[in-house]
Structures are given as structure tokens and as C-alpha cells.
């Protein structure tokens, strides 16, 4: 009896949500690599927002007389083939990576979740149709799908984000469908049906909130995937148009002048790698902290 009272007291003195958050933070920040990843992501966001203040030079200012210079005090990473400051272009490139990451993951997750929700909730023919569509998207390598769609639509940054978003749909659709199929069996969803809640209300109020943990993890991991894919596409020449600065395109520029200034290619590549690594590490950390059952599944 005493233990019960003790427990009740514990709960009343400490809100359950707060203790949940505490547990989450303890697990999440308990690993050094996760802190490392978080710091890099925060750094990326700050760099993207304050690019004009942080960049030592105008990233678009050409100066052919000082083209392909080695690193110096004035240009910490040297200059590119048009004499533009590499460091400043990398700083501005953070904006492109971050924008593409968030917008394409936004598009992919919204479309994918909707499809998965419909598929799992209604089942039957709708389910088969949607799932075969998802299988079809998955049969085409994402980079190739984005390349073909992006080029067909015209190749600008906006179209790259749309086509990357489409390539990301399957992950969300399958995740959502699986979750819906599980949650649908739960008593509280059945109770909702009994009291006459509409399908839409059940999906939105009962099923969706239960899928949040794996979803947050997938979004984080996909931010890295999208940034890496955008880099690949801009390396191939799709996406932001000159003189805009994107990391992948800078690697491609540097490839042609590898012997003059290898940093032109090396430095943006390191940025891509660090940022993608950071999103992966934080995604893994979130997975372990939000829901230990997910370990190894995403």
C-alpha cells in the first residue's frame, strides 16, 4: 500500500511529460557522436541564416586577375576559376543545401504520409494500387528519378526539390502504412469508431500522433539523404543556376581545376560529408532516445 502511495506522490510531484523529456535528453545527449552531430547541424543553420554577415567576401564577385589562387590571408581557402572567394561561396552554399533538404523532405513526407495513411486505413484495392505505385517509384534509383524528372521539368532548383521530394515518398508511405496497420487494431481506435468518429478524425486524432517517433527519425535521416542527393545532382549540373553557389556544383568546378587549386573541390566535399554525417548521427540518436524498439529498424 505504501509503495502505491509513494508512486502516486512521485507522479503528482513530477509531471510525466517532463520526466519523459528528461529521459529523452539523457539518452539523446548521452553519446558524444550525437552531440557532435547536433553541433554541426546548429552550425549549418547559423551559417545559412547569417551567411551575409559571416562571408568575408561577396560570393558572386568575379575577379579574373586573382583566379585560382592558393589559400592566403585574404582568401582563406583560395579562389575559384572566376576569382571568387571559395570560403564565401561555401558559406552561401549552406543555404542551398539546407533549403533543398527541408523543402524536399517536406514534400516527400507530406505526400508519402498521406498515401501511406490512405493505404493502411482503407486497405483493399486502394491499398494495392498505392503500394504498387510506391513499388514502382522504388524500382527507379532515386538519383536517376530525380535526374529525369528534374531535367524534364526544366532543371531549376525548385524542380530539383520537387523531384527529390517525389523520390523520398516511398519511405514515408511504407512507414505510415505499417504504423496504421498496427495502431488500427488498438482499442482506442476501435472506441473512436464506436462513438461514430469520422474516418478523417480517427486518422488525424488517433493514428497520426502515434506515428510521430519513427517519423521524426526518418525525417532527420532523410535530410541527410536529400542533401547528399542534391549535391550529386548539382555535381551533374542540375539545380541552382550560375552564379549561385551549391556545394556539389563547386566540387564539379574544382574537378576541372584539380591541379591548380584542389581545395576548390576538396573543401565543399568535406562540408557535404560533415553535414550528411551529422544528420545521420542525430537521426540514430533520436531513434534510440525516442523509441528503443526502433533500434536497427530504420
Amino acid at each position: 500500500m505504501t509503495t502505491v502511495t509513494k508512486q502516486t506522490n512521485q507522479f503528482s510531484s513530477q509531471a510525466p511529460s517532463a520526466s519523459g523529456l528528461w529521459r529523452f535528453l539523457r539518452v539523446f545527449l548521452g553519446r558524444k557522436v550525437v552531440i557532435f552531430g547536433t553541433v554541426i547541424i546548429l552550425g549549418l543553420i547559423i551559417t545559412a541564416i547569417f551567411a551575409p554577415q559571416l562571408a568575408p567576401h561577396d560570393p558572386y564577385q568575379q575577379n579574373l586577375r586573382s583566379a585560382l589562387q592558393q589559400p592566403s590571408e585574404q582568401h582563406l581557402l583560395g579562389t575559384d576559376q572566376l576569382g571568387r572567394d571559395i570560403l564565401s561561396r561555401i558559406i552561401y552554399g549552406a543555404r542551398v543545401s539546407l533549403t533543398v533538404g527541408f523543402v524536399s523532405v517536406g514534400i516527400g513526407s507530406l505526400l508519402g504520409m498521406t498515401l501511406g495513411l490512405l493505404s493502411g486505413f482503407f486497405g483493399g484495392f486502394i491499398d494495392s494500387l498505392i503500394m504498387r505505385l510506391i513499388d514502382a517509384i522504388m524500382a527507379i534509383p532515386p538519383l536517376l528519378l530525380a535526374l529525369a524528372l528534374g531535367a524534364a521539368m526544366g532543371g531549376g532548383l525548385q524542380n530539383v526539390m520537387i523531384s527529390l521530394g517525389i523520390a523520398l515518398i516511398p519511405g514515408y508511405a511504407r512507414l505510415m502504412r505499417g504504423q496504421v496497420l498496427t495502431v488500427k487494431q488498438m482499442d482506442y481506435v476501435k472506441a473512436g469508431e464506436v462513438i461514430g468518429s469520422s474516418d478523417f478524425r480517427i486518422m488525424l486524432r488517433h493514428i497520426l500522433p502515434n506515428c510521430m517517433s519513427p517519423l521524426i527519425v526518418l525525417v532527420t535521416l532523410n535530410l541527410g539523404v536529400a542533401i547528399l542527393a542534391e549535391a550529386g545532382l548539382s555535381f551533374l549540373g542540375l539545380g541552382i543556376s550560375p552564379p549561385g553557389a551549391a556545394w556539389g556544383a563547386m566540387v564539379s568546378d574544382g574537378y576541372r581545376y584539380l591541379l591548380n587549386n584542389p581545395l576548390l573541390s576538396f573543401a565543399p566535399g568535406i562540408c557535404i560529408m560533415l553535414v550528411v554525417l551529422a544528420f545521420n548521427l542525430v537521426g540514430d540518436g533520436l531513434r534510440d532516445a525516442l523509441d528503443p524498439r526502433l533500434r536497427g529498424t530504420l
Binding site: A139, A148, V251, V276
Partner: protein, 314 residues
């Protein structure tokens, strides 16, 4: 099992039909006149009309799709606009090159990732485990086109050990072919290698704490036998699933790798097709690649029965 195989085959056919529709519609998401876009602004109205006739653009979309679909069933993907050559022939020449590259990359990644994953799981928490896990994380984050450029810079330009680019068939000159293949294959292998290592590690960690592993060890079996015959065999299904998905990554990665190392395979054909607006090539390429990916996944699904007798007898 027979019912399952038939159902999976039917699904694969439906998926390929949907892919064909996606591939076909790519021509139609183009804003404006496809023929005009392909020929460029200098084209005369006669040329545009002729191409419209050739592509059948004057007919309703579904009729065009139907005609195109029945042609590809017979292996006729139309004619390339740039090469003025049959798309099927072009693909026939390029596909073996990508197959060679992909196969070498796949072999490299399996040979390295499975032992690395097992070691990492068995020595959990050791320095070796950290090194393997960190390397796998980096492998998943590294842009492979950038890795290729690093390789070219150090091994070709600075050290002069390997050729910068090019492709030779192993049947023409095996030694040169192998030298040219080393860097591209390693670059292409990085992502599958990292993914498979992570999966092997996590599947093995699940399995090695099971009772039957303890039993096998206490029977006095050799550690090697315990790990391979008892643990790996039970951990293999998620690894094989992921292996099937790597086919898609390999084809996707070949787009970048073939561009950097100027290898005349499917990836480069697709890139030039996309940038030259050579849509018959892009459509045909997508169909063939999707067919390969779907077949690979089908084989993986059917192999579950081989690895797990419980599935076989269902």
C-alpha cells in the same frame, strides 16, 4: 510457396506496368512542345512536324502510350534522337559495362562488409568496433563523386599509380581493365559497404544473445562455426533484403561514378540522355533499369525460402 511465387510475379508485372507509365509520362511533364524542346529553337517547322510524326505526338496521350507499350514489349524502344541509333542497341552496348562495374563493386562490398559487421558485433564496445562503426557512418555520408575526385587526385595525378579514367573490356585487356576498374568500383562500393556493415552488425547483435548461440558455444563448437553456421545463418535475412535494395543504389551511384571516370555505361547514357533531351533513351533506360531492380528484388524475396525453411514450408 507456389502461391506466394505467383503472387510476387504478378506484383512485379504490375509494378513494371506502372513504371512504364511513369517513364512514358516524363515526356509529358515537359512544359511546351516536346518536339520543339528536343530539336532546339533553330529547328524549322518541317523538322518539328517530322519529329512529331515520328514520336506520334499528334495522337491522344493514351493511344501513344499503348503503341509505345506494345513496342517495348517487343524490345523496340524507338530511336535515339542524338545517336540516330536504336535505343535497344545503345542499351545493349552500355548495360554490360555497368553490369561489370556493379558486379565488381558488389563483390567488394560483400567481402568487406559482412566480416566487418560480424567482427564489430562480436567485439562490441572495443576499439575495433568503434573504428568499423565510424567508418560505416562516414561511408554513408561521403559524396561518392567527391571520393572519386580525391582518388583521381592522389592515385592518378600525384602518385601516377592508376589511370585517370576510361574503360576497357576485361576480354580485350584484362590487366588494363582491372587497373581502370579499381577506383570506380571502390567508389561505387562505398555506400553498399557501409549500409551492409551496419545491418550485419545490428542483425548479429540481435542473434548472438539468443539461447541457441550459448548452447552452441557450451557444446564446445569452434567460435567460427558458432558465428557462421549458427549466428550468421539466423541473421542473414535482413542482410539479404538490404543486399537486394543495394542493386538500386549501385545503378544510382553508377550515374555519378561513370560520369567522373568517363565509363561508357548506362549511367552516363542516362545523364547524356537527360541533358540532350534524348527522351527515347531516357525512357528506355528507365524501363531496363527498373526491370533489373524488380528482378533483383524478386530473387531476394524468393531466396528467403532458401535461407529460412520455415518460410519454404509455409
Amino acid at each position: 510457396m507456389a502461391g506466394y511465387i505467383i503472387r510476387r510475379l504478378m506484383q512485379a508485372v504490375v509494378v513494371l506496368i506502372i513504371v512504364s507509365f511513369i517513364a512514358f509520362s516524363i515526356l509529358y511533364v515537359l512544359p511546351g512542345d516536346a518536339a520543339l524542346i528536343m530539336l532546339g529553337l533553330e529547328a524549322t517547322p518541317e523538322q518539328i512536324n517530322a519529329l512529331r510524326q515520328e514520336l506520334g505526338l499528334n495522337q491522344p496521350m493514351l493511344v501513344q502510350y499503348g503503341q509505345w507499350f506494345f513496342k517495348i514489349l517487343q524490345g523496340d524502344f524507338g530511336k535515339s534522337i542524338v545517336y540516330r541509333d536504336s535505343v535497344a542497341d545503345l542499351i545493349g552496348k552500355r548495360l554490360p559495362v555497368t553490369f561489370h562495374l556493379g558486379l565488381v563493386a558488389l563483390i567488394i562490398s560483400i567481402i568487406i562488409s559482412i566480416p566487418a559487421g560480424i567482427l564489430s558485433a562480436v567485439r562490441r564496445g572495443s576499439i575495433l568496433d568503434s573504428v568499423i562503426t565510424i567508418s560505416a557512418n562516414i561511408g554513408m555520408a561521403i559524396p561518392i563523386f567527391w571520393l572519386g575526385i580525391l582518388g583521381i587526385y592522389f592515385f592518378s595525378l600525384k602518385l601516377g599509380w592508376l589511370p585517370v579514367y576510361g574503360y576497357t573490356s576485361p576480354f580485350d585487356n584484362f590487366w588494363l581493365s582491372t587497373k581502370q576498374m579499381i577506383m570506380p568500383a571502390i567508389c561505387l562500393a562505398v555506400v553498399p559497404m557501409a549500409t551492409l556493415t551496419r545491418q550485419t552488425r545490428s542483425s548479429m547483435l540481435e542473434v548472438i544473445r539468443q539461447d541457441y548461440i550459448r548452447t552452441a558455444r557450451s557444446k564446445g563448437l569452434k567460435e567460427r562455426t558458432v558465428l557462421i553456421r549458427h549466428a550468421l545463418k539466423n541473421a542473414i535475412i535482413p542482410i539479404v533484403t538490404l543486399l537486394g535494395l543495394q542493386i538500386r543504389n549501385l545503378v544510382g551511384g553508377s550515374v555519378l561514378v561513370e560520369t567522373i571516370f568517363t565509363i561508357p555505361g548506362m549511367g552516363r547514357l542516362m545523364v547524356s540522355g537527360v541533358f540532350d533531351k534524348d527522351f527515347p533513351v531516357v525512357q528506355g533506360g528507365i524501363m531496363v533499369i527498373a526491370l533489373v531492380v524488380v528482378l533483383a528484388n524478386l530473387i531476394v524475396d524468393l531466396s528467403y525460402g532458401y535461407f529460412d525453411p520455415r518460410i519454404r514450408n509455409e
